[in-house]
Amino acid sequence: MKNRLLPGMVIAALGLLIALIPVCIFPTCTKLIETAAGGTVPMKCFWSGRAEIGIGLLILCGGVLIALSRSPFTRIGISLMTALTGILGILVPTLLIGGCEMDMMPCRMTTFPSLTILGGLTVAASLLNALYLWRQNKKTAGIDV
């Protein structure tokens, strides 16, 4: 039970933080860009933030599923998927969508560094959980034999 709850809760908390960062903890830049036609569009970082909300919620669900699943193999599978989602969480602000060009913009100063760190921690926590479960499973299998 403890083996399921602790990693599940940690990963779920990381996912929740990833989802909340662009919304209220370290919001992305709020100013709008004026287009040639006179309209306004949000900056690139806004869309990165939107994608991160989805990624964060996915990681949150992964954490909840790890806590609820009984089968170690299912938990290993979910952990690996969560680790990959964490990598996606790092790639969105750094490579896939990106953000503002200036270092002094709020997204570059706070939002993206915190998302990258949380993404990294999600990857590390998920992989460690998968490794732990795999080793535990190997030990149990050894005893059974």
Partner: protein, 403 residues
């Protein structure tokens, strides 16, 4: 089945694992100390680096600005906060007549509303390449030709490549070079020659009224270098006496730097005092915890002795446990500090509002290793007295003591 041999380190690791709450609390305590020591040192060194960079790059002894804008020029230099203030350029000729002035160069500040790259207001600085002695010295290793009309130099915090075009006030400018990181306001500034700056001010008139568009003879500040043998304060007083009535105010660089330096020294001192208190606290708590646990574990140590373990092994066991606690705490604290100090450096520098220049990788590595070693000593230092006690105790009395 666990196939690991029963060595001192495996027994120590198992002992720590058996009491997870106690172990995690002690590791957390050491990690707070390691976090403060490493993070604080990097912060203090970055602020010192920013200060060094400011004193090296500023170059001018006196800054002449319009009366009432002394704080604005400091904000522009330290933090790159966009400001617009102007006086007549004839003042340059007038100030130049005062004795003791070696060089004088005007600068023109234009603040943008929205830059093409983003919507962050930038400080555009126009300078005269013929008289300039502030920007030119550090242009030479970034640019191989004099800055032409329509060309700009960008600070290190502006993400633009050489050859790329940036748009300000609907005009495209060619990025001729990017400056090295200075840790001061220049990092977020854009530099151009005077004619380009004046043309830009006229273009900006379409979006907002600009004094430079109305009057071509305006400048924002005059950077003044004093001849050797003259007292900076005397020259500054002479400028004030002669031209204060014409709205000229002066900022003496040394005073500005010493003001920052005083606040910086205070901050560094607080960081080191805090680290010292935490070091003392960590050692004290660990001594108390090891002493208390020694009483609890007397029987355990007695059994080890009965089973044939020499006294030295018990000392090694205690030291090994304390080293594991220190090592894990130090690693956790150093990683946590690195995850905050490095990725959030721009945010931290904006919070301080002071020049902030992170040290080189070599310096970071040196201070990282130093703080790692200092943090690592916490556990062994705290456990020495308990280890000596255990080493000197008799098996029989140890076994019977709690009965």
């Amino acid at each position: 089945m666990n196939k690991k041999p029963l060595t001192v380190s495996t027994i120590a690791a198992n002992n720590l694992r058996r009491k997870p709450f106690r172990s995690i609390s002690l590791i957390f305590l050491v990690s707070i100390f390691a976090f403060t020591l490493f993070g604080g040192t990097i912060l203090a060194k970055s602020l010192e680096g920013g200060m060094d960079s400011l004193s090296k790059r500023l170059g001018a002894d006196i800054l002449a600005v319009p009366y009432g804008y002394e704080a604005n020029i400091q904000s522009a230099l330290l933090r790159g906060e966009p400001s617009t203030f102007y006086f007549d350029e004839q003042i340059i000729g007038k100030i130049n007549t005062i004795k003791g002035i070696e060089r004088i160069s005007p600068q023109l500040y234009i603040a943008t509303l929205n830059a093409g790259c983003c919507t962050y207001p930038l400080q555009l600085i126009g300078f005269d390449p013929k008289t300039d002695f502030i920007i030119q010295p550090w242009l030479s290793y970034s640019l191989d030709h004099p800055l032409a009309d329509g060309e700009i130099l960008v600070g290190s915090s502006i993400t633009a490549k050489v050859g790329q075009k940036l748009k300000f006030f609907d005009q495209n400018f060619l990025v001729a070079a990017q400056l090295e990181k200075t840790g001061m306001g220049f990092d977020t500034s854009v530099f151009m020659n005077f004619s380009t700056a004046k043309k830009l001010a006229k273009e900006s008139e379409r979006m907002q009224l600009h004094p430079v568009a109305e009057n071509d003879n305006l400048i924002s500040s005059a950077m003044i270098k004093i001849k050797n043998g003259y007292n900076v304060k005397d020259v500054a007083n002479n400028i004030l006496q002669a031209y204060a009535k014409e709205g000229v105010a002066v900022v003496v660089s040394k005073n500005m730097l010493s003001d920052i330096s005083v606040s910086l020294n205070g901050l560094s001192l607080y960081i080191y005092i805090l680290a010292g208190i935490l070091w003392f606290l960590a050692i004290t708590v660990l001594i108390i915890v090891f002493s208390v646990s020694l009483n609890e574990r007397k029987k355990e140590f007695g059994i080890f002795r009965v089973l044939g373990a020499p006294r030295s092994m018990l000392v090694k066991l205690l030291l090994c446990e304390s080293i594991f606690i220190s090592l894990l705490g130090t690693i956790a604290g150093t990683i946590a500090a690195s995850l905050i100090v490095f990725p959030f450096s721009t945010y931290i520098s904006s919070l301080f509002g002071l020049p902030y220049l992170q040290p080189s990788y070599g310096v970071i590595l040196f201070f990282g290793l130093l703080s790692f070693l200092i943090s690592l000593t916490v556990g062994p230092l705290a456990s020495i007295s308990v280890a000596i006690k255990i080493g000197n105790s008799e098996t029989y009395t140890t076994m019977r003591e709690n009965e």
